[in-house]
């Protein structure tokens, strides 16, 4: 079999699939490259977001998600609706815990396909911070920086898109998507195309760590960043946030990616 045709589901892709299917978590399995520790699984109540717990956060920072299990609300007809457990594994193998129709399976495949289409923009905020954080000297400073950046992105999607930080997965995916779109815009700025932006759209009321994140990332990970790149990036994210309507039926963080792709050909 041509190896490039196997379908692997990376950690953030697995989480995005859960997000797109509105799945209620029940188990996250992580893999680690640590001496003496390969794997660990966390299970929890589907009424709670276990991603927000410090144990899972630690695992998320130290390792990679390799399986997710969650419940979806399967509606066959108004009289027949029930929770069905779905299990997704990193090697592209998926199973269900109870009966489900092929039509519902098609929706799962669609969610996986959409996730795969945007996988370039699904690097977790944590991983993006990891890319440059070793440049910040003191360990205590690094943690402080990491927390402030995470908080800044949560605040951004909460203020601009009404994403409640209580909905941990929703907030997490939004932070990830916005950070990745920003980096995509930075990459565009280095490609030599015209950096058109509306100076009035450069945000003045955002948490300063949004800019700090982008500036740090660009400084340590990219070369040849033009001077006006930062304003180009944040003003266009700002425009993007205005362009989407989070109250609209079918809105999700993926809508931001679709819009960004259309507007900026990322």
């Amino acid at each position: 079999m041509p190896p490039n045709l196997s379908l692997n589901l990376e950690g953030m892709e697995l989480l995005t699939i859960q997000y797109m299917l509105d799945g209620k978590n029940t188990e996250y399995g992580y893999k680690f490259k640590l001496l003496g520790l390969d794997k660990a699984s966390f299970s929890g109540s589907r009424d709670e977001d276990m991603l927000g717990t410090s144990l899972v956060q630690t695992a998320e920072e130290a390792g990679n998600l390799r399986k997710v299990k969650f419940y979806i609300h399967h509606v066959e007809s108004p009289e027949k609706s029930r929770a069905v457990k779905l299990n997704f594994y990193e090697d592209g193998h998926i199973t269900s815990g109870s009966e489900i129709t092929p039509e519902e399976f098609d929706k799962i495949v669609e969610a996986i396909s959409a996730t795969k289409a945007y996988s370039k923009y699904l690097s977790s905020l944590d991983d993006l911070i990891d890319d440059y954080i070793t440049e910040i000297n003191l360990k205590g400073e690094r943690e402080k920086h990491r927390n402030r950046v995470s908080h800044a992105f949560e605040e951004l999607s909460s203020n601009e898109l009404n994403v409640s930080s209580d909905h941990v997965v929703d907030s997490y995916i939004h932070s990830m998507v916005l950070a990745n779109i920003g980096i995509g815009l930075y990459e565009k700025s280095t490609s030599g195309s015209d950096l058109d932006y509306d100076p009035n759209m450069v945000p003045t009321d955002w948490h300063p760590h949004i800019s700090k994140f982008f500036e740090n990332y660009a400084q340590y990970q990219m070369e040849g960043i033009p001077e006006e790149a930062h304003n180009f990036v944040v003003s266009n994210i700002n425009k993007l946030l205005d362009a989407v309507d989070p109250t609209e039926e079918g809105y999700s963080a993926i809508t931001l990616l679709e819009e960004a792709q259309q507007q900026y050909d990322l």
């Binding site: 079999m1 045709l5 027949k80 092929p102 098609d106």
Partner: protein
């Protein structure tokens, strides 16, 4: 679960229908249950106290086969779970191939055992038994060839021969054996828009699954006349 039956599920046996109706639905609050009681010895109070198993046993005794079937069918349509548990493996399909004529290409191989040009791919005989289209997707049903499995009858637990309803009609004498034909069923659904394929993953060797994927791939790459492929070859 009937092994690997998912995309090709069309009907349900009475046992399947029974097992797909939650015990909690056998309550007199549900009209079909309340109405059927007239034909049985059960009072509404008794029915409310009885569990699913007990109700089904009594109905089985008191009703004709036909009436029992009708009752279960009505309950299933109203409250039963449709579909199957699935265990599937996803693969990507090559992005540059035009899949518009894939069904025609596949149909050339429907029916008989897959021979040339798949000899070099397959390690065992394989049949492409059925092809159907669901919306824009293409479903395939494969079977391996028949294997005979032998079971010997013993004095303590003799092999039983049963009829359609599961009643014993005969018994295989001690030290005699039966040969039972078995074959694996593998289903696949091709998603031309998403450029993906999903293949049964339950109780089939990984090798066979990969072989089936490779067979589909070779049909796709052979039938595709997309010019992009030619460009790709010329690409430096």
């Amino acid at each position: 679960m009937t092994e690997n039956q998912f995309f090709f599920r069309e009907e349900y046996t009475i046992e399947e229908m029974e097992s797909r109706i939650r015990a909690g639905e056998f309550t007199i609050d549900n009209a079909p249950v309340y109405e059927i009681l007239d034909d049985t010895q059960l009072t509404p109070d008794e029915a409310e106290d009885a569990g699913k198993e007990e109700i089904l046993n009594i109905l089985g005794d008191d009703l004709s086969n036909e009436d029992y079937y009708e009752f279960i069918e009505e309950m299933f349509v109203r409250y039963g779970h449709e579909g199957d548990r699935f265990n599937q493996q996803l693969f990507r399909l090559p992005p540059n191939h035009d899949l518009n004529n894939l069904r025609d290409s596949l149909e050339r191989f429907e029916g008989g055992p897959l021979g040339q040009p798949f000899d070099s791919i397959l390690s065992q005989p394989l049949y492409l038994n059925e092809i159907k289209e669901e919306d824009s997707n293409i479903d395939l049903r494969f079977n391996t060839s028949v294997d005979m499995e032998e079971y010997e009858s013993e004095e303590e637990i003799p092999i039983q021969v049963i009829d359609e309803e599961g009643k014993r009609v005969d018994e295989i004498p001690e030290d005699n054996a039966v040969r039972i034909p078995t074959r694996s069923r593998i289903e696949a659904r091709i998603y031309p828009n998403q450029k993906m394929i999903s293949i049964s993953n339950s109780e089939i060797p990984v090798r066979l699954q990969k072989e089936i994927f490779t067979v589909v791939l070779s049909i796709i790459t052979d039938s595709s006349t997309d010019t992009e492929d030619l460009i790709e070859v010329d690409d430096e």
